[in-house]
């Protein structure tokens, strides 16, 4: 009985386009939902999570000395052979890199150098905007690597940003208080 009733109801629904009306109501509702578009680079920028593997950076120890001991383990483990390290010995007898170059054009950002490093000297940070017109500019030397931004702390958020055409860096963040982008997506 109820089955037959369902069938009749389905037919009545079809006759009056219940399914089409449902679809229209759904799309109408979505028209007034919050947009998930991130207005990068005009207004917003995505700050990656702390585990994000972006541009490499070299760390310093508490005395301000470079942590790297130039053991060349990173160069050994690198699957695309893009790290070149030349060591030297300073006056105290410590090993440090005289030259530490990463060819980011060839790097595949696997993070193995970070894992291999015995001195916790190299890591992959949060920066992801380093496009260039020349592949030669993508070979980053020791001193540049020391100045690169570290791991993200406020990761997983959208922050206010604006287009900056005067510097090489496209986006300059002005505040660090982000809102949680994923939470704002409407779920129905």
């Amino acid at each position: 009985m109820s089955h037959a009733g369902d069938k009749v109801g389905t037919w009545i629904g079809w006759a009056f386009f219940a399914d089409l009306a449902n679809a229209l109501a759904l799309t109408f509702g979505y028209m007034f939902s919050r947009s998930v578009t991130m207005q990068y680079p005009d207004k917003e920028k995505w700050l990656p999570y702390a585990r994000y593997r972006g541009h490499h950076f070299l760390k310093r120890d508490d005395e301000g000395e470079i942590k790297c001991v130039a053991c060349e383990l990173c160069a050994k483990i690198c699957p695309c052979d893009c790290i070149e390290v030349i060591p030297y010995e300073d006056e105290k007898g410590n090993r440090h890199p005289a030259k530490f170059e990463i060819d980011t054009a060839r790097c595949l950002f696997c993070g193995l150098c970070e894992d291999a490093c015995p001195a916790d000297a190299i890591a992959l940070g949060q920066q992801y905007e380093f496009s260039s017109f020349s592949s030669r500019d993508l070979v980053i030397g020791r001193d540049d690597l020391l100045g690169k931004p570290g791991k993200a702390t406020t990761g997983g958020a959208v922050v206010a940003a604006r287009l900056n055409t005067e510097h090489d860096v496209l986006v300059e963040t002005s505040e660090l208080q982000g809102y949680n982008w994923w939470r704002n997506i409407r779920r129905t």
Partner: protein, 333 residues
């Protein structure tokens, strides 16, 4: 002197109408992309002007400056003729469309229509039938299989759907006892035709969707399976002609729906000026067209034909018979 003033007025009206019809696709494309964006939880164009308002202007400049490409194997004469044939009829049709009764400007009464034909409805259907030639010629002349397939589909679709569209209107003509659009609107001063002719409205609207080649009946230019249908090979300003024609027909169907079934410029409840009522109703139906586009999938070709011949045609026939019987029954004593 009288004649010169009358002629000048007509020229002014026609120029005004053409300007509006040529410029209206700009806000309509913006609106369509914005509505599409928000339905799909995007933002649509945002970067050119405030909320992308100038995006259609940028697109227009792009289309104007693009290469006007004609395929080597194309029939050059027909290829050049087709966009004009597609563009002209929707513009011509608007000559017969009234937008209101009269307005007084500087003490003179000016009618809000170019001409009040007593067979305006017939004129509209006759002229809009020519538009299909643009599509067929365009598809044929390009000498491309996608274009030919698209124009074959369009040909069958337009002819199939013009029949129920014409039949659906007969009920309205019977109620108004006139084929003049002005008289039809005047006859709806008290009760709109939608109350008497819901089936007629349904048939007309669905057939209008098919005539305007909008989703769910946009088989002519089904991007997924035909490239872009009949205008696959068109580029630059000729492509823009087809786009403008498409929007003009969409507008025309909205205007016809409003005039025939929704009381034209007759308002209800709110005492707004008649022309504003008219614009609001037309805007609503244009929105419905866009809303449909981003809600429904496309019908299969056999389904399209089945809907046209097996559903809409019998429905419109039954509508005529029932309207006639009821009219006869009420007018008998």
């Amino acid at each position: 002197m009288e004649l010169i003033v009358a002629l000048g007025l007509i020229v002014f009206k026609v120029a005004f109408l053409i300007a509006i019809l040529l410029l209206l696709p700009l806000p309509l494309t913006w609106l369509e992309r914005k509505i599409a964006g928000h339905i799909q939880q995007r933002m649509g164009p945002m970067r050119v002007g405030w909320h992308g308002l100038l995006q259609p202007v940028a697109d227009g400049i792009k289309l104007l400056t693009k290469e006007d490409h004609i395929p080597a194997e194309a029939d050059r004469f027909l290829f050049k003729l087709a966009p004009i044939l597609a563009l002209a009829p929707p513009f011509v049709v608007f000559v017969a469309i009234p937008f209101g009764e009269t307005v007084s400007v500087l003490g003179a009464e000016i009618t809000l229509y170019v001409s009040n034909m007593n067979v305006a409805l017939l004129f509209v259907f006759a002229v809009i039938g020519i538009e299909v030639y643009g599509v067929i010629f365009g598809g044929w002349a390009a000498n491309s299989k996608y274009a030919v397939l698209g124009s074959l589909r369009t040909c069958a679709q337009m002819i199939s759907y013009e029949i129920p569209m014409g039949f659906a209107v007969i009920g309205v003509v019977m109620l108004a006892q006139s084929m003049s659009l002005l008289e039809i609107v005047r006859a709806q001063a008290d009760v709109w035709n939608i109350v008497y002719q819901p089936v007629g409205f349904f048939v007309f609207f669905v057939a209008g969707l098919a005539e305007a080649q909008r989703i769910p009946f946009d088989l002519a230019e089904a991007e997924g399976d035909l490239g872009a249908g009949f205008h696959t090979e068109y580029s630059g300003i000729r492509f823009a002609f087809f786009m403008v024609s498409e929007y003009a027909i969409m507008l025309l169907v909205s205007v016809l729906v409003v005039i025939l079934f929704f009381g034209g410029w007759n308002g209800v409840l709110l005492p707004l000026p008649p022309i504003l009522w008219f614009v609001l109703k037309v805007a609503f139906f244009v929105y419905v067209f866009i809303w449909f586009r981003f809600t429904f999938p496309r019908y299969r070709y056999d389904q399209l034909m089945a809907i046209g011949w097996k559903v809409l045609l019998p429905l419109s026939m039954a509508n005529i018979i029932i309207t006639g019987v009821l009219l006869g029954a009420t007018a008998a004593p």
